[in-house]
Amino acid sequence: MNNIYIYNDSFISLLNLIKCLFKNKIRPYNIKNTFYNKNMFDNIIKLNIESDEEIIKEFINIFNTYNFKLIYNVFNSNEENKEIIIYYYLLNYFKYKDKLGMMRNLKCVSETLRISEKIGRECHKFKGFTRFKELKNKVLYAEINPDNNILYLLSIHFKKRLSNEYWCIKDINRNIISIYNKEDFEIISGNNIEIFKNNLSSDEQNISDMWKDFYKIVGIKERKNERCRMNFMPKKYWKVLTEMEEENEKDSIWKRVTRENRRGN
């Protein structure tokens, strides 16, 4: 039987579980969150461990800040086997210590570095692609749709940049919102808050129109290169970009027309 250990979805409970596994020298087959669908060879094990927040300090002490940040990034990714990668990465740290980062022939190391880079890259993309709208009460509101959970990293960036504004960023794929009150931000579930996002400030329309004009004009038509644009700015991100509204509309009309054509045939 394959021993699958279950943790209750939070980063802290994962760390607690890993600590417990290390302590008792258990090698899990896999580690999964509570949404895991059991298959017939699995032996599901739920350990009763108290969630202790002190564990973060403890882990940073043992594995140092750099590695801690790495595994936090991996945890926030949408990779399937991220938990077991984290487990083996930390396990190997005891053997290789600070040389671990160079042992790229180990699968857990190369995967950890690859996933962490991927998160960093997507976060960096959204440092550019986040588009705020100003609401009537002067709060800046943005919606993002990243593949990985980058809201925390992104909020750190905007906390420094727009420190004198009220803003909130909603991750529409995960339904979580980061809210900033000019001092610090907090990430809460989207169910606990309602935002009147159509109640825009008076010059919002004017400004976003100017931006759309600017965007259209800046492209040089003799150099038009759809593929190059798509490489840097994949279509999946277009729906949160103010300047792409027109293209999105064209796209949806095109889709509808082709669908109707197909039905007609």
């Binding site: 550019g128 588009r131 705020f132 040089i220 003799e222 759809e226």
Partner: protein, 407 residues
Amino acid sequence: MELKEKLQILSDSAKYDASCSSSGSTRKNNGGFGNTHYAGICHSFSSDGRCISLLKILLTNACIYDCKYCPNRRSNNIKRAIFTPEEIAYITINFYKRNYIEGLFLSSGIIKNPDYTMSLLIETITLLRNKYHFNGYIHAKAIPGASESMLKKLGSLTDRLSANIELPTNESLKLLAPNKKENEVFKIMNYIKTNRNKSFVPAGQSTQMIIGASKETDLEIMQKSESMYNNQKLKRVYYSAYVPVNKDSLLPSITIPPLKRENRLYQADWLLRYYNFKVEDLLDKENPNFNILIDPKASWALNHLNEFPKEVSSCSYNDLLKIPGIGVISAKRIIKSRKHFKLTFQDLKKMGVVLKRAKYFITCGNKFYIDYSYLNKHFIETNLSIEDKIVNINKEEVKQLSLFNYE
């Protein structure tokens, strides 16, 4: 005139400037508004695939000069407009707040004289920095011929200050931009170079050359860049494929901008700055232009096949950089890791080496990736260009690049 229309006119006039980077500065948000990101951030990508990070506008598109290639030249009959400093500040602040842009790129046509134009730029940027406490990125263009005191003021307000050389030789400058003088541009560059520090142009300076408007070969262009990197300590040289906006007997009659040539020049430019290549390695008097079909690094490697294959687990960092398919990041990773374990081709792939290019030029643990009896110049060249899918390149474009029909 409405603000909206002004923005349309003055961004349309500014779009041909290639520079867009927003990197190299670490301005902090000291209770004000915004900050800069050291690596730079691209906020959007326009339909031509270029990144948009700065609000690229001219202060005015009125100009007393008559440069042949420029859409804003005096003799063109186009709509002219001028921004007030308040208007620029309003747009910049509101765009920045919504995270549309990383900062402002402000250039200008020359009105009255260079010093007067500079004073307008200074007034605008002072307003942004002091009244609105804007700490975002600002890239301003220095106007050739302006006095040193003006340069000093403008430089202390901006992150990047630059002057465009536009054409690689003095002769073509005389021909196409009779009012512009090369030594005036160099005066600005040298001034910035000697005075640059944390509070004066922290992100350094850049320049731009137009490609394909005059008769220079790639060799002359690259030599110019190399000398500017060495002597003026430039951060970047931008190459801008000539887009035929004006009709003039002195300009080449092309319809498609020489984009592939521009691409090759950028590749070579990277080789100069990060890969320790020199122009004399890449080009010489017999081959003064880059091969359009194959990139400069691969074509260098093909001409020096006797130096290959290189053994990745023992050769030096500099040698690693010379291998096509290995870049700065993967070379550094190889150096770091190979002390600790024996490299295999699988590991190389994981480190980001592009094996489909590198496989002809390396051995790993004294093993070849492919049968070495195939390794001759013709075989490699064909395979590399097939992989680049350049075989399918628009034939007309290649023709346009190699023949210059002057009207």
